[in-house]
Symmetry: C2
Subunit: 139 residues, 2 copies
């Protein structure tokens, strides 16, 4: 049975359940940042997915890009470039990060993953970001 | 007309032309590391690709994972985890990095992208790595 790794529960907030992935908002208001986790027990690498699910993961990553832009609008942060990363060195359960980057952001042009300390959302920004992302994910 | 960005020409060696992507070996022997660039003029984000090409990019990323494992075998470096990244903050032409990571590698568990200074290949390791990767990409 699939269970989302506790690390994601701790560091992110649920937005939506797409056909393949649980989609969550990374609890770090420095960047508009979504995390997608395919609901497939034991998957660690993309190659662990069936070909159809690989294509679906890519489509859901693209959809998450729209969610990231919507969260960026809520935060008042420009999105000059989307960054997509599937790492899993710390939390091996297969997941994809989709992060909205801007020229001059705290880690620019380096990767955002693992950079500095997260800045958790406060209300009402969190509720607004979750609502905007959910809206964008409805496509 | 598609032209590979000069940054890739400078920092990597050609391995193969897949149906969508030019596949190259990153000239950094610290990690087995392949770079894929879809041969589509003007593409910067995954969303710029037609749905079929998005699925194909994902399949070619998976294939590149096999290439990375083959290069890891040549270098004598274990591949505990594949890392896939589409960033483009420095070189916006759409491209994907597929990097073989190992517990305890120089940047572990952080991202390899932008970490420290590359260690260019020497011969005969370069020729062996290119041949092994090309072989693995034939599937």
């Amino acid at each position: 049975m699939f269970r989302l790794d506790a690390a994601f529960v701790r560091t992110s907030h649920p937005i939506a359940e797409l056909r393949l992935c649980a989609v969550r908002l990374q609890d770090d208001a420095r960047w508009p940042w979504l995390v997608l986790a395919p609901r497939l027990e034991g998957a660690r690498e993309i190659e662990d997915l069936a070909p159809d699910d690989r294509a679906r993961l890519m489509q859901e990553i693209v959809l998450a890009g729209a969610g990231v832009r919507a969260v960026g609008a809520v935060l008042g942060l420009a999105v000059d470039k989307l960054n997509v990363g599937l790492l899993g060195n710390v939390t091996p359960q297969l997941h994809a990060h989709v992060v909205g980057r801007r020229d001059g952001d705290p880690a620019w042009p380096g990767p955002a993953w693992g950079f500095g300390a997260p800045e958790p959302y406060r209300q009402p920004a969190l509720a607004r970001a979750l609502a905007a992302a959910a809206d964008a994910l409805r496509g």
